[in-house]
Symmetry: C2
Subunit: 460 residues, 2 copies
């Protein structure tokens, strides 16, 4: 039997057991952004470390940071062979609005061969695939074709505030030939993709204050600035009616799309009608002069993620609100600098600050945009592994999302990053009813197993 | 002893007992807008009815409506004398944000001769003064100098949706020579006022929907409209940077201020610096060309009372929100028509609807603006009663707030409305730490008692 045939049999034989174990992982409500889940974060980290130890992975540790712990492990007995550093995250997004979930976010359920749970695809499900692939290689071959290291963090969904310091402090321990990350998606159902670029992220919270307390809108209305009106003016000033961002200098450092890239994206024949149907909109909306793929892969954004102020309960409360706030994040593309963009945002807000209020701006964590040449041998090898399992050509794409740590790995460890993900855009990452198509769980295990052999054969 | 001396002694002797009883009333959390308080509304109505019965008031009833009940009572044994219909409301505003209260909203506390509780001044405290004034007149004179009727509702804070139908159905029972309402304020500490005009109210809720669910701002950001951005554009379109409302036709029917009124307002020498200090703002903000009193008494407004959408919890959630909403109310002045203004708002929203979203507009309840000639004998008599107790000239003013039922009384019963209130603008109606200066509770009881004698002497 070829290594692929052996893997195939192993994964088929053990599928039920593997899924049951993954359910245990998904049941841990490891929401990194909410302090009440601090203990759950430790539980999730310990769970992962325990699984690594059972796989013969060595030097496994749960390393404390200023925030949530990092899980590390290694197996370095493939002499003369390349070393792959696996990265993933065991933290998940918050789950509100809870009432829009069809099943509870931390009670995994399989419906129609899809696994529903918070973290099913982003990213616990994919982290778990790394582990089971290692288990399968040991079980079927008694060894691994390459050296492996693992680093799993619990703060990806809050911008990885503590991982760069950890990586910096553990540079030698983490030395490798590439980093493999499974936190992106296929291009489409049945169509695999290797992602060679990611957008970065930066953001601010804007807090507007008028009077020292809420006022009666009858007694004071007409003579005192309303914090929500002031905020709305600031928010409306960020973009024009076509969605083009009006922050001065915002687009100055954006690397233009090459003709080759634009053509490659056109060749993907993206189905806008299907997208509209999928997300339930009458029309798409974005920067003029760019296709949807260009808008979401290669152009920066400015989105209000949340807004709050005044009375939002049932019925009416005729209050003149004293406070209002908004959370804003920008997706950034090469060669925008997150720190510089935050300064531009601040200058814009200062310039557009309405009269009669004070405005406070606080910064969220940042991640730089990242790109790898898509003709790199490690990238091309990943494409081959996908093709063997999916039987169609691999698309080489960019991702609109951000994995802030990718840029940090790039900067600190100077390693190529290979993004091999198995999610689908329709799987409600960050939203209610997150799920993972088990077809890609099954195929992905085999792709990853094959990739270790592909890398084993490369001279790096 | 004159009737005033007798009243004075009675109120002094019974002050502690009266306040203790008022505490009981204020402890009932009669928030009309929240359905979970439905039972408390009934409790508050029963409490009032019980007190009226104990005062020898006859035909007391707690009359059900489609919403919260109306409390009625009467005493009609002053033959040949005018009849005063007393109106007030036993419902209160919601209490959030609860964390900004220094003491619990439904645990009344006296600090520095001020009574702190939700409803202390708006309007339970003032309703209670009607009752104690009647009690005092019976106790000191054995009778009343005029006939009285009482109508207390539980839906004023939600726009009195059911009272007009009740008044219409009980026209004959409610027949009177005037309506006396205590739900407004003094002009300033120590400076009494009779309010001869009130603003009306109308409002809408705007609900914006983009995609069918929240989306990942990385995967979709840049290619799909953001519901909060769309809402912010609509909100920002309502006013220019000076606060002038941009809704087409909005000001068309506004009755201009007379030179006499503008002069009277100037003579009040309103202290803008003191106001800024009181509410904690660096600068006031309102329509150009109008003084603060003109802006808040005689000009219409458009205020966002609340805004909501996306993620508002701790930290960051990089979501592209599918839904956002805002609650908006307008204060109206003669001769604006609430129904017409709602149509103008709807047309404006339709015209400014951004691409890529659907917008739903729902109407709140309405109240027309109202004005009484300020040389009316009943208004002038009220001025005299105030002056006897406060020893300064009474100001004849307008109120920026709305008592929607005033216009309905005017329309259905065709009666002059006399607004004799005892609150102060600084008392945080509708906001945390609502309170009532007990000095005005004490004086107000005497003013009201005297006014019944003043009215008794009028030939109407």
């Amino acid at each position: 039997m070829s290594h692929l045939q052996k893997l195939d049999k192993y994964f088929s034989d053990n599928r039920e057991k593997h899924l049951e174990e993954l359910f245990d992982f998904l049941r841990i409500p490891s929401i990194s952004s909410l302090s009440e889940h601090k203990e759950d974060m430790q539980t999730a980290a310990n769970w992962l470390a325990d699984k690594l130890r059972k796989l013969n992975i060595e030097n496994v540790s749960v390393d404390p940071t200023k925030g949530h712990p990092v899980v590390y492990g290694e197996w370095l007995h493939a002499e003369g062979k390349p070393t792959i550093l696996f990265y993933g995250h065991y933290d998940v997004q918050p789950v509100d609005p809870l009432n829009l979930w069809d099943s509870e976010p931390f009670k995994p359920e399989i419906r129609d061969n899809k696994l529903f749970a918070r973290g099913a695809s982003d990213d616990k499900g994919q982290v778990y695939m790394h582990l089971k692939m290692i288990e399968a290689l040991f079980a079927t071959e008694g060894t691994l074709p390459v050296n492996v290291k693992f680093i799993y963090e619990g703060e990806e969904e809050i911008g990885s505030p503590n991982l760069p310091a950890y990586v910096e402090a553990n540079k030698e321990k983490l030395a490798a030939d590439l980093i493999l990350i499974s936190d992106t998606g296929l291009y489409a159902p049945g169509k695999p993709a290797v992602c060679y670029g990611l957008r970065g992220l930066t953001g601010v919270q804007i807090d507007v204050r008028g009077a020292k307390g809420d006022l009666h809108s009858g007694l004071y209305g007409g003579g005192v600035q309303n914090a929500i009106h002031a905020l709305a003016e600031i928010l409306a000033s960020f973009r024009d009616e076509h969605g083009t961002i009006q922050v001065e200098g915002f687009y100055d450092k954006v690397r233009p799309l090459s003709d080759e890239e634009r053509q490659a994206y056109r060749d993907l024949q993206f189905d806008e009608e299907a997208l509209k149907e999928e997300i339930g909109v009458q029309e798409l909306f974005g920067e003029a002069g760019y296709s949807y793929l260009e808008q979401t892969w290669a152009r920066p954004t400015l989105e209000v993620n949340g807004v709050f102020g005044g009375f939002s309960g049932e019925g009416i409360k005729t209050v003149l609100p004293a406070e209002a706030g908004a959370k804003i994040t920008c997706r950034l593309v090469p060669d925008q600098d997150p720190n510089e963009i935050v300064q531009l945002l601040k200058a814009h807000i200062e310039k557009h600050k309405p009269k009669g209020v004070t405005v406070n701006v606080s910064e969220f964590d940042k991640g730089a945009p990242y790109m790898t040449p898509f003709d790199h041998p490690l990238i091309q090898a990943a494409g081959r592994s996908y093709e063997k399992i999916y039987n169609v050509p691999t698309a080489f794409i960019r991702g609109g999302g951000s994995i802030p740590i990718v840029a940090a790995f790039d900067e600190i460890l100077s390693l190529p990053v290979v993004l091999m993900g198995f999610g689908l855009n329709s799987e409600n990452f960050h939203a209610p009813n997150e799920h993972f198509h088990l077809e890609n769980f099954d195929k992905g295990l085999r792709v990853l197993g094959d990739y270790l052999h592909e890398v084993s054969n490369l001279k790096l």
